[in-house]
Structure formats: C-alpha cells, structure tokens
C-alpha cells in the first residue's frame, strides 16, 4: 500500500467533512462513527500523529460515503469538493500554459512584423519581451516581501484575488457541467470550498496561495518559451539581421560594457563573440538611419542572436523555472507542516478517542491502569450518575462489539494495545493523578492548562470536582487557577506571566514532540446563561493576544446554578420528597455544575463565532 499523503484536495475534503459534521446535531451518531473508525482502522495501523490519523479518518469517511451515498442532514456525502478543486487547478494549469505560450508568440510576431525588413533592433526587442517581465517580478517580490513582513495583507497581493475569482468561476462551471441534478448542493459545496480557501488562511497559512503562485509561474515559463521559440524559428527560417540603435548618445564601448555585464551568467562558457557580440561586432551592427544598412557586415548583424536568446533564457525563463520549482517545494513543505490542531480537528480527535475514558474499557486494554485508581476522586464514586465519562455507554458497547467482531482472538488484543504502551511513554506526566488516564491513546493526552474562573462562582463551586471533571471528561489538567472578573487588565497580565513561565518550563524540561496537542491551554469557565457581552468577547480577544496564536482557549460553559433551588426544596418538600431533596442537595452544593441550556449554547456559539478564532473551543462542563 503506498503511503497516502495530504494534498490540497484532501485538505479541502477534510475541511468539508468537518463542516458537514458541524451541521449534525446528533453527537452520539458522530461519536459512534468516529470511535469506530478509530478502533477499526487507526489503532491497528499504529499511527499516532494527528495528520496521519485524520488522513485515515478522511479516507474511511469518503469510502463509506462512496459505498452508500446517504443523505445525512440533507447533504451529499459522496461528493468531493477536493477533487473538483484539483480538477479545476489542473484545468487552469493547462489553460495558463497555453495562454502564456500564445502570448509569448504573439508578442514576438507583433514585434517582428512591425520591424519588417530592417534589421531587428535588439534593444527594442529586449525592452518589449524582457523588461516588463523583470519589472513584474520585482513588483511581485516587493509585494511578497511586504506581505510576509506584515506590511500588507496577503489578500491584497495583486494578481491573486483575480486568480481566486477565476478559480471560483471555473469551479462553478465545472460543477454545473458535471452534475446538474443536485446542483444546489453542488453550489453549496463550491461555496464551502471557497470559504475553506478563504477562511483557511488563519489555519493553513499560505497553503492555498501556492497553487496560484505555481500557476502564475507556469504562465511565465510558457510565455518565455513562446518568445524563445518564435525568435529561434524566425532566425532559422528567415534571414534575420540584428542591429542596435540608440537615440541616446551611446558609444559602442558603452554598449559593449552593458552587454557583457548582462552576459555575466553565461560569459564563462560562451565568451564574447559567441555568447554575446564583441566590441567589433557591436560597432559593425550599429544602425545609423541616414547611412542605410548596406554598409553593415552580415557577420556582425548575426552575432546578436545568441545573446538575445540567452538573455531570454537566463532572465526570463530560468527565474520562472526556479520560482516554479520553489513554489512546488513550498507547497509540499506547507502540506507537510500542517499540524491539524485547530478547533474542529481537536473536537474530532476527542470524539474518536474519548470512549477510552469509560471504566469498562479497562478490561479491554490490558496495559491500561485499572479503573480502581479512579477512587482517587471521591466525587466520582459518590455520584456516578453524574460522572460524564460514562455518558455514552451505547456507543461504547457498539464499539466493543465492533472490536470483538474484527479481532476475535485473544492475542490480537495485545497487538491492539501496543500503541497504548507507546502512548504512555509519550504522554508521561509525572504526577500521580495523571496516570489515572495514562491509557488514553495518542495523540490525545491530558494537557496542562490554566483555568480562569469568574470570581462570582469561584467561591460557590466545588473546585476539586471541577478539576476532576476537566481531567476526566475533557483531559485538561488544571495546574493553575486564576480568579477573574475584578480587574481584567491585571488578570490578563497575570495570566500572561503564568503562561509564559508554564510554557518555558515545558520547553526546557519536557521535550517538544511537535504535535501541538501537548501545549498548554487556557480554560475559561463561564456561566452559559449569562449572555456573552462585548466585554467578554474583548476579554477573550485580549487573552489571545497574551497567549500564543495557537494556544487553545477553551470556553467551558455550565448551566444555571441550582443551589438556591435546593434551599427552596428544603422548605417546601421537607418530608414529602426526601429523595429528590437529596439529589438536589448533592448536586446543588457539591458540584455546582449543571448542563447547559441549548438556547444558551446556541447564543454563545453565535457570539463566539464572531471572534473567528480557530483555536477557540467551546465545551460543556457537563453534558
């Protein structure tokens, strides 16, 4: 099996699938599906990096979609906008190649036919063919540098919005042509693709810029090839004389100096006389209009053409080829460097592996520490019905079924467990409590985090339980709690220093493994019923500024605090409903946390989406 690799098309497909998943509200369905993929395909492969895992996931999703094209939530799953995008790029490449070539030829032809029977004026020829190109390259690299150094937004990069437009149009055309029946969904998919390309800049950087860059270089290469070809054929098939003429008072000496300077790149193989005209030939080929051309020696007149061709090769063609190749390399590198750690990715990853926090699965995983260690956490055993880690028993049993179905023999169980060994080696946090979940497979591990807790609820909530929840349910190890809500600026400063020291400690003591998943994150606890006001959003934005660009910020939402209901219950139903009362007291006072209202969740989602931060995640403290 050849090793699959990420391509632009795959990335678009991947993002497209993630987007589709976002529209599915049935969490259990997604969880079951992804866990199955994980158990059946990813675990046996032994791959651990997110990039590899997601690739397998994508293949699997696409395969099932192709086998039984079902409509999920009114979207067609067996449709690949990525393929369409690649097709479209291929088409554009051909079109631009041809267009460049034609343009090159027609520029030359125009020039040749204009000059007619006179000897061709070399300086004019170069001015027309080469000079604009050189200028263009200069301007573009200027733009490029400016955009790289942040002086200018990348999207202003002149020719590329235009190219983007061309891509959009051709995508539309392609999609219309290929399938008219489900055109509206296709159009949606095209829109989604464009959105992925547009919005992906934050996550994918220049990734989607490179194909455009490459296409431009193809055009340049073809253009210069066209010029070269038509020039050479002119020389071959017509008796062509070249000369020079200047309205400036330029001596032949001067011209020679310039010419030999231009010829520096090839002077060492093709010296004066062959690679470029020598001083005598230059004198001999000077066109002085009033004298006519009859006094000029044919030999001298012909001596120019190698120089011309080589100039085009070295100043037109070669730079373009170099840029083209470097474009290819950059694209490759950019693909390789993708970390796949933005919000939807981490959500997917969690969906795939979170089953593992289920106590029962301990039996299945021989190398995992037994679940008895959970008794570290008294709250968990007190209130098992609240422990979110067993929230999804159905999915788990299905998975178990799937797993046994696939690997009925006992021994294979050990094979399957191998990655776990590996994982516990990678994710080894030294403190005892984290070993609790040491069997969580890579690349997910318990990551350290700083928790920001509003002072309003800090006193009221059960901190231990919160930390336990974060660790078992969300795999965040709360190493530091900062109470916020009194003076944002000071608190931000504090978070900044705390974060800086934490990250530094990490960088020096623990070896970085490049996954991006073991970075520190910041968990911000919020009450969902409090509408997110601008102040909250601004706080998150400033928080982002004091952290790294890709540090995950988790907004952990909890529902309405029920403690007062408990008091109510006490007075009203003292005798009648003691079990209820117990329930209330326990949950009201010990946990503080309650499930989030769906409408509140939607409100937060809408408001937070205005920040457009791919590393900003929303979680429910309790499901």
């Amino acid at each position: 099996m050849k090793k699959a690799k990420w391509t632009l098309g795959r990335i678009i497909d991947f993002e497209y699938c993630l987007r589709q998943d976002m529209t599915i509200s049935d969490d259990n369905y997604l969880k079951k599906r992804d866990t199955e993929i994980y158990i059946n395909q990813i675990l046996p492969s032994g791959l651990t990096s997110p990039s590899e895992i997601f690739l397998i996931w994508l293949e699997s999703i696409r395969k099932t979609a192709n086998e039984n094209p079902v409509r999920i939530n009114d979207t067609h799953r067996n449709f690949s906008p990525g393929n369409m995008y690649e097709e479209c790029l291929g088409l554009l490449r051909v079109i631009f190649l041809i267009a460049g070539f034609m343009a090159g030829i027609s520029v030359c032809l125009a020039f040749f036919s204009y000059t007619g029977h006179q000897p061709l004026n070399v300086s004019w020829f170069l001015a027309i063919t080469l000079f604009p190109q050189l200028c263009l390259i200069m301007v573009l690299s200027g733009f490029f540098l400016a955009s790289r150094s942040g002086f200018m937004q990348q999207k202003r990069f002149v020719p590329y919005p235009f190219l983007g437009f061309v891509i959009k149009q051709s995508l539309m055309m392609l999609s219309r042509k290929s399938l008219e029946k489900i055109s509206s969904e296709k159009i949606d998919a095209v829109e989604a693709t464009l959105a992925i390309i547009n919005e992906g800049k934050q996550v994918y950087g220049l990734l989607f810029f490179w194909p455009l860059f490459i296409i431009m270089q193809l055009f340049g290469i073809a253009f210069n090839a066209g010029i070269l070809l038509s020039t050479i054929s002119r020389i071959l098939f017509f008796d062509t004389a070249f000369g020079w003429q200047s309205t400036l008072q330029m001596s032949a000496d001067m011209v020679y100096k310039v010419v030999s300077m231009v010829a520096i790149p090839w002077r060492w193989i093709l010296p004066a006389g062959t690679g470029f005209p020598d001083i005598d030939q230059i004198i001999g080929s000077r066109i002085v209009l009033k004298d006519g051309i009859y006094h000029l020696a044919t030999n001298d007149l012909v001596s120019w053409w190698p120089f011309m061709c080589l100039t085009i090769v070295f100043y037109g063609l070669l730079p373009r080829i170099i840029m083209f190749l470097s474009g290819l390399v950059c694209l490759e590198k950019s693909l390789e460097q993708q970390k796949f750690d933005h919000r939807e990715c981490s959500r997917l990853l969690r969906r795939m592996v979170m089953y593992d926090a289920v106590p029962d699965s301990g039996k299945q995983l021989p190398h995992a520490p037994s679940i008895e260690k959970l008794s570290h956490a008294p709250e968990l055993s007190h209130t098992p019905e609240q422990t979110p880690i067993i929230s999804d028993t159905t999915a788990v049993s299905d998975i178990q079924a799937a797993n046994t179905h696939k690997k009925p023999s006992d021994t294979s169980g050990h094979e399957a467990a191998d990655p776990y060994k590996q994982s516990s080696a990678i994710s080894d946090f030294k403190d005892a409590s984290s070993s609790l979940l040491g069997h969580i497979p890579p690349p997910i591990k318990i990551t350290p985090c700083i928790a920001l807790v509003p002072e309003d609820i800090y006193e009221a909530m059960d901190k231990e339980f919160f930390m336990e929840l974060m660790k078992t349910r969300h795999l965040y190890d709360v190493r530091k709690t900062v109470v916020v809500g009194i003076d944002f600026e000071k608190e931000l400063e504090y978070v900044q220093t705390e974060y800086a020291t934490a990250v530094n400690v990490k960088k020096t003591k623990e070896k970085p493994d490049g996954f991006g998943y073991d970075n520190w994150s910041v968990v911000m606890l919020q009450e969902a019923w409090q509408p997110p006001i601008r102040e909250t959003l601004n706080f998150i934005k400033s928080l982002r500024k004091v952290l790294d660009k890709k540090t995950r910020i988790i907004v952990a939402l909890t529902g309405r605090h029920v403690e007062t209901y408990k008091e109510h219950a006490k007075t009203e139903y003292t005798e009648t409903n003691s079990t209820d009362l117990n329930y209330n007291t326990k949950h009201g006072s010990t946990s503080f946390f309650t499930p989030v209202d769906t409408s509140d969740w939607e409100i937060w989602k809408t408001k937070l989406s205005t920040i457009a931060d791919p590393w900003l995640v929303m979680e429910k403290v309790i499901q």
Binding site: P454, E455, D456, F488, W529, P532, I533, R534, H561, T564
Partner: protein, 475 residues
C-alpha cells in the same frame, strides 16, 4: 397649572439593564406597544427607541427602550477616574466615547439619561446577582438620576428575589416586581404609582399620567360596551332573503341560505372583536386561539351551545322576567330536552317558528317568460340564548385581550387553558339580577317592533351602561 407641567416637560423614563433581561418587554408592556422588537438573542436592541404614550393624541409620558450594557467594567472604570463636574459626567463620557465601537451601546443607553430621563433598571429575578450587575448598578448610581428597579422574572419563580432586593437597597429609590409578560392593567398602574416615589419633582406629572391612564381605560371599556350593544342589535335583528334558483328545491335553498346566514353572523361578531382588539392596541395578539379552545370553534357548533350561556333553569328565569316571547325556550324546558336541541342554528330554524318563511310570489308568466321567483327568508334569530352566548364570548375575548401583555408575542398552552376554563364558567350566569334584567329588557326591546324610538334609545343606553360596569369589573 398642572397641565402646564405636563406640557413643558414630559416625564421620560429610560429602561436600562443587562442584555436580554427583558427591557424591551417591559417597555412594550408599559407603553402598550407590540411593535417593540423582542428576541431571545441578547443584543437585539441596538439603538434607543422612544415610545411615547399618547392619550387623545397628546403625549403624556415617554418610555425609552435602550440597548443592554456591553462594556460595564471599562465604563465604570472611566467614570471613577472622571474628575470634572458631576453634572457633566454623562455628557463627557458620551463625547469621549461616541466613536469607540467598544462603547457604542453604553453611549447609546446613557444618552436618554444624559438628557434627563429617569432610570428604570430591569433585572431578571430568576437568576442570581453577579459582579457585572453590581457594576451596572454602580454606573447608574454615579449618574445621579432618579432611579427605580424592576425585577422582571423570566423564569417561573423569582428564586433570587431576596438577593436582588438586598443589592437594590443600596442603589435604588424604589423596587418593584413586575412581570413583563404577565402584567395586567392594574399592575401597570401600580408600577406608575411607584414611579411617583422615584422623584419628587415628577409627582404631580405622574399623578396626572395615572389619572389619564385611568380615564383612558374607562373610555375604552365604554366604547367596547357600545360596540357590543350595537353588535347585539345587528345580529339579533339580522334577516336575509334569497331567491330560490331555477332548479333548486326549497330545501336546498334553505340549507344554502342557512350557511350564508351563519357566516354573516359570525362575520359581524368577528368585526366587533376586531374593533375591540384595536381599541386595546393589540396588533399582533389575536384570539385566533389553538383549536382546542372553544372560542375558536364555530359559534353555532354543538360545543359552543353546550358550554356557553345560561343553564336551562336560568334561561327559564330570564325568560320569565321577559314575560312572553319565550315560546321556544319554554318548549324546550317542557320537553325536558337538554341544549342538544339547539346544537345548531338549524335546530332553531327547524323548530318551525317564524324564523323561516318561504314565500311564493305568484307565478306570472308573460309570453312564456317567468317573472316571479320563489324566495326564502331567514331571521331574525331573536333568541335570548344566542344573545347570552354572544355576550359571554365577548367577555372572554375582552378578558384575554386586556390581560395580554403587549410584550408577549407567542401564544402558549396556558392561554388556551385559561379560556377553556372561562368558557365552562360562563360569565353571564354570574351576573346579578339587575344586570340580567337590563339584558332581558334590551333583548325584548330589540326583538319587538316598538314605535317608541325614544324608549328604545333609553333601553339601549341602559344596556351599554350595564355592560360597561361589567367590563370594568373584568380583570
């Protein structure tokens, strides 16, 4: 003198609070304006909206809906650092921040306060107090404007009322509970009463406003009573005549006419209800109630007849009071049949009374062309029972209209339940003898051809008066 106070300075109150606490709802209810935008999405209101209360085309008080606080912490921090003269605090704040998008909402919501509006601070009593709320209260305190607070309970119970009240005591001149979605007219008046206590200067003006409010309410009820009386007159005396078609039997024509007749009566009733709805300034709320509600059912359906109106015995008594003209009713009671007999107007029509008459105009043929036509006439349905049904329905309609807060936009189950309960009760059966007597006299006067126009008019006025006092009592 008092009039001048109002003319010169109309009291203005800005309704201020955290987003999504129900500010727009409170304003909508207070100003009886159901065009105010209300939405579960916080940040719905982005600009101030002034809602003047007009009585007789004259503005007597204005409520201003404002956006919610979006940036309270920084706002308070700025105000605490402010060192200029107190009276310029708000103006300076607004001038400094008007172009800063972060303070857009604060500038907007403080603008009415800066121009002298009183403050009504709205909070949701079903949620706990948070730091942000304290900050907002502090901001309002620093404005130095007269202010009161309203606990508008969005949840079912004001669970955190005590906590809120403790907080409020530090900052507000007056505290009131006011449920925007459930507030009745009298609760609105109560709220206005407590506005008096917010600022001495406004006391006379607000007293005046309350006076006007009460007058206006009376006026509306008087109009509603008149409309109802008119409707009764129209319906009870309504007749319809139709030609019998060429190829139609008398019976077919009868059935056709019956349908049209019923439709017409229904339309007349609906028109009156519509007028009453407009009278109480409802544009959105309509008694197009869920189908399980009886009010929505056909006026002449079996159920309606069963549930509305008087009990058989009461009909007899009412009939006795009228004396005579009770043929149908007595018939029924004598037969010992329940209301089922009246299950449809067809029942009455079929009873063979004078309601229906076929008249054969002499068949004159002129040169082979028929000139005459058979006609069928229906009505008037001079039926005491029907009158009481219409009255009951009107009472139910009126009752739900006046109790429907203008901020309440969606009709839920509870409304339908209320109405069904009311229907079972039957309003008119609870009326006192005097009222019933007037009704019967009115019925008689409408249904008999009397030559004394003057007397008719007098009875009609009596009826209006009686209905008015009945409506006034409705809560």
């Amino acid at each position: 003198m008092d009039k001048h106070v109002i003319m010169e300075k109309i009291p203005e109150f800005a309704i201020i609070g955290h987003p999504n606490e129900g500010k727009s709802s409170v304003v909508s209810t207070l100003a009886e304006d159901d065009t105010v935008k209300i939405s579960p999405m916080p940040g719905e209101t982005v600009v101030c909206q002034i809602l003047p209360v007009l009585i007789d085309g004259q503005e007597i008080i204005r409520f201003t809906d404002t956006p919610g606080f979006q940036n309270p912490r920084e706002t308070l921090a700025w105000m605490k650092n402010y060192s200029g003269p107190d009276e310029l605090l708000l103006k300076t704040f607004i001038d400094t921040h008007c172009n800063n998008p972060d303070f857009k909402d604060e500038c907007e919501l403080l603008t009415p306060v800066a121009r002298g509006a009183g403050i009504i601070f709205v909070v949701d009593g079903s949620r706990p107090v948070r730091q942000t709320d304290r900050i907002e209260m502090e901001i309002l305190r620093m404005t130095g404007r007269p202010r009161m607070s309203i606990v508008n309970c969005k949840g079912n119970e004001p669970v955190h009322l005590n906590q809120w009240q403790n907080e409020f005591r530090k900052h507000f001149n007056s505290i009131r509970q006011f449920n925007a979605h459930k507030a009745t007219w009298s609760e609105r008046i109560d709220l206005l009463e407590s506005l008096k206590g917010v600022d001495q200067d406004w006391q006379p003006a607000i007293a005046m406003v309350i006076e006007k409010f009460k007058e206006d309410w009376k006026h509306r009820n008087r109009l509603a009573a008149a409309m109802t009386t008119e409707m009764l007159e129209h319906i009870l005396t309504f007749t319809m005549t139709e030609n019998i078609g060429e190829s139609e039997t008398f019976n077919d024509a009868k059935i056709r006419l019956q349908k049209q007749f019923i439709k017409k009566i229904e339309a007349m009733e609906r028109l009156t209800h519509e007028k009453i709805r407009k009278l109480f300034k409802h544009n959105i709320f309509d008694c197009t109630l869920p189908s399980n509600s009886l009010l929505h059912e056909d006026l002449f359906s079996e159920k309606t007849w069963q549930f509305l109106g008087l009990s058989p015995g009461e009909v007899a008594i009412a009939a006795g009071m009228v004396g005579g003209a009770t043929g149908v009713v007595i018939d029924v009671i004598a037969a010992g049949i329940t209301f089922g007999v009246f299950s449809a107007i067809g029942g009455i029509l079929g009873a063979g009374s004078a309601l229906l008459s076929g008249r054969r105009i002499a068949d004159i043929t002129f040169k082979g062309v028929k000139l005459g036509k058979d006609q069928v006439k229906m009505g008037p349905v001079c039926n005491l029972q029907l009158m009481y049904i219409l009255l009951d329905r009107m009472m139910i309609f009126h009752g739900s209209i006046i109790n429907w807060a203008h901020s309440r936009r969606e009709i839920d189950e509870s409304v339908a339940d209320d109405i069904t309960a009311n229907l079972k009760k039957g309003f008119s059966s609870g009326w006192n003898d005097k009222t019933k007597k007037v009704c019967s006299r009115f019925f008689q006067s409408v249904c008999t051809k009397s030559r004394f126009k003057y007397k008719k008019q007098q009875i009609r006025e009596e009826m209006e008066q009686v209905l008015f006092s009945v409506l006034e009592k409705q809560v």
